[in-house]
């Protein structure tokens, strides 16, 4: 079981709570963690347009996660 710090930005924060949340998870990668979070909230786990970061680096959804990682889920950017 991994201990993770998970943050949801902007519109995702309204649904999941912005965090950071201190979670325990067996997810092996960012996609599995995202699916786990969505399942708990009963929402669609589609990732279209979303980005994920691990320890302040953008990563692919298949990026492995380890205990102590900080994972951040982000909706499409909307600056300007």
């Amino acid at each position: 079981m991994k201990e993770l710090q998970v943050t949801f930005w902007a519109a995702l924060g309204e649904r999941f709570g912005s965090g950071p949340h201190h979670l325990r998870s067996e997810a092996v990668d960012c996609m599995a963690l995202w699916q786990e979070c969505c399942m708990a909230q009963g929402i669609d786990a589609a990732t279209q347009g979303l980005r994920v970061a691990r320890n302040d680096e953008f990563v692919d959804w298949g990026a492995q996660i380890q205990t102590g990682d900080r994972i951040e889920f982000m909706p499409p950017f909307a600056g300007g």
């Binding site: 902007a10 995702l12 600056g79």
Partner: protein, 143 residues
Amino acid sequence: MAVFQLSATPIQLDTARRLLGTDPGCGAYVAFEGWVRNHHQGRAVSALSYRAHPVLAVRAGTQLVQLTAAEPDVLGVAAIHRVGDLVIGDVAVWIGVLAGHRAAAFQHCRALLDRIKSEVPIWKHEQYTDGTSGWTGHDVKPP
């Protein structure tokens, strides 16, 4: 010169302009100011706020201005994006490009703005005159 900044205070245009410096080979200066308007997709907007990822936004924005600065004929680039609470008429984003000729200055100013909007982790939360509010650009859907 290539500078990207997030600003929690109003953008001072004279100060922003000075970020670009000067270059004797410069024949064109193009600046863009994005203002907070009072409507969005048919809804009346009263105010808005921007949130940005404090690390990734600066890194992504800096990479974009550096890429722009490396373009042929570009002699200087700077961009500033507001974060925090803004009111109608405030400058939300400022971009300045110096180039040898106007075509490059116009082209790269617009291209940089487009890339900042789509590639820098910044989000806009709008407040509407009917008392509601919401993040722009994304809805979380049920399965």
